[in-house]
Subunit: 564 residues, 2 copies
């Protein structure tokens, strides 16, 4: 028995850990590190065979078989997660540490070519659709947390392994980085919710950079090829973000990737009591890659109406289930002269909207059915816009569901809420953006791309934990989308630049919030100002920040009965 490998006095002696993706690239290093420090480890993986082989390998290396339990299955299925936890409890009792490490790479395609249906997935020879990737990378860890928390010990530690690329422009990887970005917000939300609970569970996020391995070279080479650029370009771009040089085998100093051991040592720190005072914290295992946590700015002026003229311009609004709110966005754009097409995701909403609009005749708001998860629906609306106007100047994407629709809690949300939320608020925005950019690419009516603006819900009065997951996912979608567009433009493939934004409304509780956000969409649709920060936050006090009280439109003249 190798004493070093079965440390009864180790830093995790007597601790029970669930580690997902235990036999994977980084997972195998984490497994060894945990076992070396005396932990009992429940190891999960999707392939029983791979997991068993890995455990045999560990036993052959001298690790104690009794400290390991294998549990197989796909964590995207919440029932599987509950079985994994049941296995852990059965073998070892309470769970002290949960490490959400598993996660597939997702389809490596630019926004336009991400597969959403199984048919597209097969045609592209990919392993996952966007939906499957989001379920794997975001819903999976969420399910694991919900299943584990009831069986965790006081002071338990949850470690979510994200990626630094969830905060960068990662070409062709929206299907990976958008759900991971949602995971970052989930992680902080869980830290808020669980730390205050009677178990004082702490939740932290690890952000590995590109990790030294054969795999990362292939990934970056594929990315270079996807971008049609010299091999090594992507790699050196990311190395150039690093702060620390390290010696290579010959002692020459260079920017190098962190190693799987670096990730494992950080996870070990977070698994042990050494880190018991950390929660809601990010640990960047990146050799100091300088990547901002957010791209945001506060909006501190009302739009200058003299500069906003939407006469002759066409604005498409993708409504959520709050039709009244959508009508205010329509109203504020119409008031500046825009022609508005409103798309509803459901037939119910469509019926309600039609009734609302009919009251307003003779104002011409075009109403369409538009389900972002069905490309044919997008196709039809786009054809309508093309046939009738031949142009599209602004697109406003409202949240699918209002506050409270999926509850307010992350850890006690039920299976259906998690899946429905991820589909409606993480997958659907990507699907819509993908369809839109495909259509625009084939359309190219003129050199200016439409301004696309995503809108969040207002304050939910419960800490906005779900709203922030959506905020994070869409922020990353926009970040990569902008980058891919710029790349297409640089290559001359595209001919225009799209600079989408997100208006974040949930930090402000004032009555003016809605009008202010709607006016800003009109300003952005005007196309004169480009806001480089992705997230534009409505300030806590609009009056204070702008020096002006609200600017009510005398919209009644234009749309009698519409103003509320």
């Amino acid at each position: 028995m190798n004493d070093n490998k079965n440390s009864t006095g180790g830093r995790l002696a007597g601790r029970t850990v669930i580690l997902t993706g235990a036999a994977g690239n980084i997972g195998s290093y984490i497994s060894r590190s945990l076992l070396r420090q005396g932990a009992r480890v429940v190891m999960t993986g999707r392939s029983r065979e791979k997991l068993d082989a890995f455990i045999d390998e560990l036993v052959a290396e001298g690790y104690d078989r009794a400290a390991m339990v294998a549990a197989t299955g796909d964590c995207a299925d919440p029932e599987v997660c509950r079985q994994i936890v049941a296995t852990a409890v059965e073998h070892f009792g309470e769970v002290d540490v949960l490490i959400n490490n598993a996660g597939a790479a997702g389809p490596k395609r630019t926004l336009r070519y991400i597969p959403f249906s199984n048919a597209e997935k097969r045609a592209l020879d990919e392993n996952q659709t966007m939906y499957e990737s989001a379920m794997n990378l975001l819903a999976g860890p969420w399910h694991m947390v919900r299943a584990t928390v009831p069986h965790m010990s006081v002071g338990g530690s949850i470690i979510n392994v994200s990626t630094i690329f969830s905060r960068t422009r990662y070409f062709g990887r929206i299907a990976y980085t958008v759900p991971k970005s949602g995971l970052n917000a989930l992680s902080l939300g869980l830290a808020r919710e669980l730390g205050a609970g009677e178990k004082g569970i702490r939740v932290n996020t690890v952000f590995p950079g590109p990790i030294e391995s054969e795999r990362i070279d292939k990934v970056f080479a594929a990315m270079d090829s996807l971008q049609g650029q010299t091999e090594g370009t992507t790699s050196s771009e990311f190395r150039n973000l690093m702060l620390i040089k390290q010696p290579d085998d010959n002692g020459t100093m260079e920017y190098r990737y962190p190693t799987p051991d670096d990730v494992a040592s950080t996870v070990l720190f977070l698994s042990s009591d050494d880190s018991r005072s950390f929660s809601g914290h990010g640990f960047e295992v990146t050799n100091g890659m300088q990547v901002p946590t957010r791209s945001r700015s506060k909006l501190v002026s009302w739009p200058d109406d003299r500069l906003v003229d939407l006469g002759g311009r066409v604005v498409l609004i993708l409504c959520g289930s709050d039709i009244d709110e959508a009508m205010v966005f329509a109203e504020r754009n119409i008031h500046r002269g825009a022609t508005v097409v409103m798309g509803c995701r459901t037939l119910d909403a469509l019926g309600y909207l039609r009734a609302r609009v009919q009251e307003l005749e003779p104002v011409a708001i075009q109403v369409q059915h538009l389900d972002p998860l069905r490309p044919e629906s997008m196709e039809r609306v786009f054809q309508f816009v093309s046939d009738n106007y031949g142009r599209l100047d602004g697109v406003i994407v409202l949240p699918a569901t209002p506050n409270g629709q999926h509850g307010y809690s992350l850890s006690t949300a039920d299976d259906d809420d998690v899946a429905a939320f991820v589909e409606a608020e993480v997958v659907a925005p990507v699907a819509f953006a993908s369809s839109l950019t495909r259509k625009l690419a084939s359309w190219k009516p003129r050199r200016t791309a439409p301004q696309v603006t995503f809108i969040t819900n207002p304050d939910d009065g419960h800490g906005n934990l779900l709203n922030d997951i959506k905020r994070a996912a869409v922020e990353e979608l926009i970040r990569v989308w902008r980058y891919e567009e710029r790349h297409e433009d640089d290559k001359g493939h595209w001919g225009w630049l799209n600079v989408p934004n997100q208006l974040v409304r949930f930090d402000n509780n004032e009555a003016d919030n809605l009008a202010f956000a709607a006016d800003w969409t009109a300003t952005l649709n005007n196309g004169v100002r480009k806001m480089d920060p992705i997230d534009l936050w409505v300030p806590k006090s609009i009056r204070r920040a702008t020096g002006k009280s609200s600017m009510p439109l005398s919209i009644q003249r234009v749309l009698p009965g519409l103003h509320r």
Copy 2:
């Protein structure tokens, strides 16, 4: 020999560590933790007696005397720092880890009562002036780094122990938190500079929260008493920022302070190779206190001139040595109707400014000598404003020194540069603000406080490492100042609210930068808009963000010859 305490196989076996403040409250825990893991530790402290007694204590506990070396002296003296490093090298050779842990609490006074001169210090029975506190907390670690780097090993680790309060509103503690905030920026700047060097030295910052000890109870009780509020208020305010509850001795879950052990375990992680992939990173040992890293927003509009009328208003400009730049701020405020008083820090600058202003007759710019480090100078200018106008509406504080004055490097700056920079750009803003708020308190001409706006230098073309230290220090000055003002106002002592801001210019390289910043001072001096984010950043592209090209003033009509 206690094997546990002299671990030859420890995580720091064979490593040489310099630890400042080794016998202090937290330092003593760090010392034990380092020694337990096999490090050789050079322990510093200002009192030889205290240090010797601590070492005796450690030896009595079973730690190896041969692993410890004492080095006494005040790190505010760069010569002392070089001696400490020489001692380390003499005993143990190359240095692997530098832990800047030492730091005194500084005078616990609100802005108005911080002592700047020795006379004030004695009168208030304080141990330090603001200058001494800044030299101790900011220049000291800086000196230690400069002294140590030439003797560090490849991959060496520098750990700067800051405080989470450097990012909070910490009542009555400007003398402590402002230099500490500067230290945070120094730390990141050093990470940038040293990581790229041939030693690949990494630099990280630890942010302890309030640490469980008798001392913190006294500190918070004193803070409550200073604020005239119920004992326990400060403590519960900070506990309420925490995310994780922890069990007390009876198992009851409550928000508790982190312990010195929590800090020591984090410092140990950062001292060991387990953290070799971290640099430029902050580690918050706070039980998850939710404290934003920055208070910032981007400015995305030109001021709306229709809303800016400074007719009859008085603006005071504290000039730095760039008089031409100061003249643009004057011009842009005068154009909107303001009466401007310009104060120069040196007699040289005063002479040049007088000549410039004389060319402009009959425009009435009042020119005064104004050295923020001399209260009598402030007194005289304030009296002048009071006698001649009876009001003060805006105050613009320009940086004392232009880019390059103290070089561009942090690690190779010389002793004089460090001391001069800290005095001119960290101490002087506090001194100016302190004098100003004292004068205003005695003056109270009307309910509205003047808008105070600090300005940074433009881009220095070398990464703005020094500019960012100033930015960080002034940001924290403003944060606590605002908070103290609000408190005075709430108590009815004050009668007005001051909401200072800082315009950060170094992220933008455009020609419009200066005019844009100057116009914003006019907007803020107008007093209608209150910008809650402290730092207002000039956006990378003004044209892009605002949708307008520059707005040149036809100032020639007003001030012939002034426009440049």
